[in-house]
Symmetry: C2
Subunit: 346 residues, 2 copies
């Protein structure tokens, strides 16, 4: 047999060799681990295998299977989520309010007038009754005041300082560790199925954008919320102490129309403040999924609905029953509520 | 030499075999086309190799190379683009105004009062002088009226009907074929380098979201613009005949802060209406790139700047000169202006 002379191909660069090596490694890995590369892990592992989990999985299968009559192209697969009470707990008070109170105290030396002025006076004197009397308008004023004036960097630093230090009064964990594990899994399950997910929350958008992108793996522009009026001056956007857009109730579908521009396929909330967002979603043509998270677990989280001031869910439960929406029962449907605790200094 | 017995591995499924076949094909393709898979095509092919093209490429290299002192993580790589005059032409008039005029005529039978009421009367009588006298406030009124009342589907259908039929008075092409080829390439070049690109335009957001996603390959929520007030009612978001947010001048950085939440690394505009957006971008820490597209090509497009009513660029040119911003000279820097013409019925 004749030996062919070894010939150096004229165009074979180092890059080509590196690519061939990479290709061989990839091939080798695929031969070794066919299961890992060929099949997805079980979805929603922290959900018990109840009809609610099945309904979510069937819905996703129906809208993502190209042979299904309910198929929706990936660019139209939008899902929206309320935040407080849907993605993380909201008791004994919206988490952001703990920050707002701490921030008002932090800013008080610059605002001596607050000592005589509600709702600030109530916060500084820790007067819960007076604070309650200020109602929603009082909360909005505090929300706007907590953001006003500060540069992005100053505000973000203040939020981070608070998040590192503050602990939930019942669970004694950082608030950022009280997102619901089953909801984090739902976000990634939808993402893996070509959905684009948004938070559409009444919370202050600047507060949420400091903390939530890391927890939910969402970019800041997919977190929609309330925001204050603002003006541009000398390279900076200055926030004024007045809410420009309060993203709650019927304002949620308005925010979706103005800021997303596509009617969602799936919406998830937990209170009457989410009702219009769920209605707007369900009113779309074709298959849609409206989900209510029902807080039924007094032991592992909280149990509340029709009589609660925070997370009030009354019209929503009636509407869900009438329209066959999915009502997730936290106690029955969730195997775990919160993720495993992380070291305290995280 | 001993022959090894052929052994069927017990776990080899059809899936495994399909994966192996795929791996072999990939390997084969990589061996065949090392250049295509190993190197990116020359970036910005419709740009002449001028210092402006070089500056863009150097900037992108600096912020994307992990060893560079100017490196920026992908999640912070935001780029914003004005639309009219930056991404597509804006002469003899903002393209959307051609639609708005056509839409006002379409809606006129439902609004007999318009025959006596400016700025509508001017549109219906084709009275350019009267229209000019109505000024910016008149334009805003027309913009809002063109959107008001219609459902999303009705409005989108009206925009699509117009886009299919209307032709540019000078180029006799559909307006949707008058996006700048070099800018389309800049968008994909940035995308390929991990940037997230947004349109931040004074144009009506609902109009833009019908036509631009396909041309620019951007999802609707990355198109930011002006929008009318809206209310939610019975599963629908109803637009009112009044602008809620007019996204121009100092409102552009406000829109970026409220809707994106990250100061851009790169901003591109063409008029004084983009100045604050460019200033806001340039005022950020670290390396930033502010780009003005200067309309210098009267033959292939239009030539205008300081004396133009539409696309007025005066303070912007001074600011660019003082701050060493990039001023793209369309005539010198662009090898082609518009993409090759498509069949007329597209």
């Amino acid at each position: 047999m004749k030996t062919l002379p070894v010939r150096q191909p004229p165009t074979r660069s180092r890059e080509t060799l590196r690519l061939r090596a990479a290709a061989l490694v990839i091939t080798f890995l695929i031969f070794l681990f066919p299961a890992a590369s060929g099949r997805a892990a079980t979805p929603l592992p922290s959900w018990n295998d109840t009809p609610r989990r099945q309904a979510i999985i069937s819905f996703v299968a129906a809208v993502t299977d190209p042979r299904s009559p309910d198929y929706v192209a990936p660019e139209k697969r939008v899902a929206v989520f309320d935040n407080d009470g849907t993605m993380w707990s909201e008791k004994p008070l919206y988490f952001q309010m703990f920050f707002v109170f701490s921030r008002i105290r932090e800013l008080a030396p610059r605002h001596p007038e607050w000592r005589q002025q509600q709702p600030f006076k109530a916060v500084l004197e820790n007067d819960r009754k007076a604070l309650r009397q200020c109602g929603l308008e009082g909360l909005k004023q505090l929300l706007a005041a907590s953001r006003a004036g500060a540069s992005d960097a100053e505000f973000a630093a203040s939020v981070r300082r608070w998040a590192a230090r503050a602990r939930h009064p019942r669970w004694h964990r950082p608030f950022t560790q009280l997102a619901f594990q089953p909801m984090l899994e739902l976000l990634s399950y939808l993402k893996n199925n070509g959905f684009t997910c948004f938070i559409v929350s009444g919370g202050g958008v600047d507060f949420m954008r400091v903390l939530l992108p890391e927890i939910y793996r969402l970019p800041p522009w997919r977190i929609i919320g309330s925001y204050p009026e603002a003006v541009y001056r000398d390279g900076k956007v200055i926030r004024l102490p007045k809410i420009a857009f309060f993203d709650n109730g019927p304002q949620k579908p308005v925010a979706i129309a103005q800021k997303i521009g596509i009617r969602p396929l799936l919406a998830c909330g937990n209170s009457d403040g989410d009702l219009e967002m769920l209605q707007y979603t369900a009113a779309g043509q074709g298959k849609r999924l409206a989900i209510y998270i029902h807080h039924t677990d007094a032991v592992r989280e909280y149990a509340y609905d029709r009589k609660s001031r925070i997370g009030h869910l009354c019209r929503g439960l009636d509407c869900a029953a009438k329209n066959n929406w999915l009502v997730v029962d936290m106690k029955q449907d969730w195997r775990v509520v919160y993720p495993a605790e992380k070291p305290a200094d995280k």
